[in-house]
């Protein structure tokens, strides 16, 4: 049912679905982030070639592609996390609300409070649950204990973890299960009130039930935030995202509304990937 055979029937179901999709996608939404002609290098090796793409506000954008295609590298250019690795450089523009995050901001940490990140393998600090969520606040100068406590609770609620941990906030974060730790990391990222949340394969290390919880969470979060998610699980991308970009060997082959990418991709490569011919 994935590939649409070219017929002349105008009113097939797929076309109607597509029409609905394209309509809903034309509900005015501005572009929260825009990438223009981005090249990225690890030392002398080029990893990303001339990527141009938009990230719509309050939508979930999924990045798919075979392993090693550059989707994680691309994700990390959106919050300047690649700068923590020596020898990297990029050319081109990455705009947040119209401003180039590389050229118009001196301090990368200022970007990261607006574009947050959740990692593939959950990485809670060796601290208590409370201190984990509070970390971002403290590191950005919030010292009022009342404010911190309130925001920690808010964030844990948003991450759908509050009920499970409200009595044990002082326990070590490592006492939580894998799925809970990942939601803790999401709460931790939410605490600093980012505008965009980047998620690098957030559920790949989790069991199906935890994965489902996180996918539900993503659906809820997009109301207030803009989400970009990297995933190698195409079903997940189809379930969760509004917009999808397909990466291959460092290039953005195609991007568009998720429904269309998965049913009527323009490029053959996309079609091959989606039908499982490689990757």
């Amino acid at each position: 049912m994935l590939v649409h055979e070219n017929t002349d029937e105008v009113n097939s179901t797929e076309e109607i679905d597509d029409a609905i999709d394209e309509q809903s996608d034309t509900i005015p939404t501005r572009m929260k982030m825009s990438v223009r002609s981005l090249d990225f290098f690890y030392g002398n090796a080029q990893a990303l070639y001339d990527i141009s793409m938009d990230v719509a506000e309050h939508r979930v954008t999924a990045l798919i592609g075979p392993s090693g295609c550059g989707k994680s590298t691309f994700l990390r250019t959106l919050n300047r996390m690649n700068e923590t690795i020596a020898g990297t450089r990029q050319q081109g523009q990455v705009l947040l609300d119209g401003r180039d995050i590389y050229r118009e901001f001196n301090d990368p940490s200022a970007i990261r409070t607006r574009v947050g990140m959740v990692f593939q393998k959950s990485n809670p600090f060796p601290k208590s649950i409370f201190d984990n969520v509070a970390y971002g606040l403290r590191v950005n100068g919030i010292t009022d204990r009342h404010i911190i406590a309130t925001v920690v609770e808010e964030s844990l609620i948003q991450a759908a973890l509050w009920d499970e941990v409200k009595d044990k906030l002082n326990n070590s974060a490592f006492m939580l299960s894998g799925g809970q730790q990942q939601r803790l990391c999401i709460a931790r990222a939410l605490a600093i009130r980012p505008e965009v949340i980047l998620m690098d394969e957030p559920a790949s290390a989790l069991d199906p039930i935890s994965t489902a919880k996180i996918e539900d969470l993503i659906g809820e979060l997009k109301v207030k935030y803009t989400i970009v998610i990297v995933t190698h699980n195409m079903q997940q991308a189809a379930r969760v995202s509004d917009h999808t970009g397909f990466f291959y060997e460092g290039r953005l082959i195609e991007d568009g509304p998720t429904r269309r990418i998965f049913t009527r991709p323009d490029k053959k490569k996309t079609e091959d990937y989606i039908t499982g011919r490689f990757g």
Partner: protein, 319 residues
């Protein structure tokens, strides 16, 4: 919802913090330079001061001297006699004698134990041997010197019927005890770092465990073992307290290892307390110190280079 106002990060604080950290890191580098500079500085008069050179020029310190007109030319270290004598040769000889005895004692024991630990011992035995060596390494040298002075010297004298209770052999053995941990650790490290793939290859061709060790591991680890010996020798040359307490401190020229000896380091330690600041004797002691520094610096550099090249080689093989 709660209002949040983030404090902007102070770039000045970041900058100052990083500067502080990087400046601090140069302290170690600075220290080496300063040590050389200040020790050498006090020794410079040997090259520049005529009065010092009357008694202790480079020539006078190296070659046999006719200390009294008409008497036979000889080497002698007697800085405090009427005619001060500053021949370095007895001290050099003493240092080398003690160090060689130390290595002759430490090498078989240290390398042997390392081979046993790496090639023959099971995990439990290895877990026993390592702490034993660490305990040996932890013994302060003054305690080893004490032991050599009080117990070992008597034992050797009784067993071997020696004339001099404190001698090169006594000091050398105690010195060897201090060197064993160095030789052991470096050699054992080298042997256990030989990649398992090499061992597997030999085993798969039918070699039994000892053959694997003999034909594969030991040859591959030889540079590491050599480095251990080199570094151990450096320690033996520079060690002070043991020789100070156990060697008899007699600056004589003799080939016998049963005679007392005086080493460079012990000379400095024994005589620095009584020198007049700025005197020739003082200058010569610092000169000896500078020599020691340069010598151990070169030895350690050599040992480290061997180890670095060994690491490169092993890593090249596994990649």
């Amino acid at each position: 919802m709660q209002e949040l106002k983030f404090k902007p990060k102070s770039r000045l604080r970041e900058f100052l913090g990083e500067k502080l950290i990087s400046v601090n890191a140069y302290i170690a580098l600075l220290a080496i330079f300063l040590i050389f500079a200040f020790v050498f500085k006090e020794a410079i008069p040997i090259f520049t001061d005529g009065a010092v050179q009357q008694e202790a020029s480079l020539e006078k310190m190296t070659f046999k001297q006719e200390f009294r007109a008409g008497r036979e030319a000889r080497w002698s270290w007697q800085p405090n006699s009427d005619i001060p004598k500053f021949s370095l040769w007895p001290l050099f000889l003493g240092t080398i004698k003690a160090a060689i005895i130390a290595m002759l004692f430490a090498m078989p024991l240290g390398i042997g134990a390392a081979v046993y630990s790496s090639e023959f011992a099971d995990r439990r035995l290895r877990e026993f041997i390592k702490p034993v060596i660490e305990i040996l390494a932890a013994i302060p040298s003054v305690v080893l010197g004490f032991f050599a002075l009080m117990v070992l010297a008597t034992f050797l004298q009784n067993v071997l019927g020696l004339t001099f209770r404190l001698n090169a052999l006594n000091a050398g053995i105690a010195l060897g005890l201090a060197v064993i941990p160095i030789v052991f650790t470096v050699a054992e490290d080298a042997m256990t770092s030989v990649p398992g793939s090499l061992r597997d290859a030999a085993t798969a061709l039918g070699a039994n465990p000892w053959q694997v060790s003999l034909t594969t591991v030991l040859p591959a680890a030889t540079p590491g073992i050599a480095a251990g010996v080199v570094l151990g020798f450096g320690r033996a040359v520079g060690e002070t307290m043991i020789v100070l307490m156990a060697s008899g401190n007699a600056a004589i020229v003799s080939a016998s290892m049963l005679d007392s000896v005086r080493t460079f380091s012990a000379t400095i330690a024994a005589e620095l307390a009584e020198v007049v600041f700025g005197s020739t004797h003082y200058t010569v002691l610092f000169f000896i110190g500078a020599l020691l520094f340069v010598f151990t610096f070169l030895i350690n550099l050599g040992g480290d280079m061997i180890l670095a090249r060994l690491k490169q080689r092993l890593q090249g093989k596994t990649s």
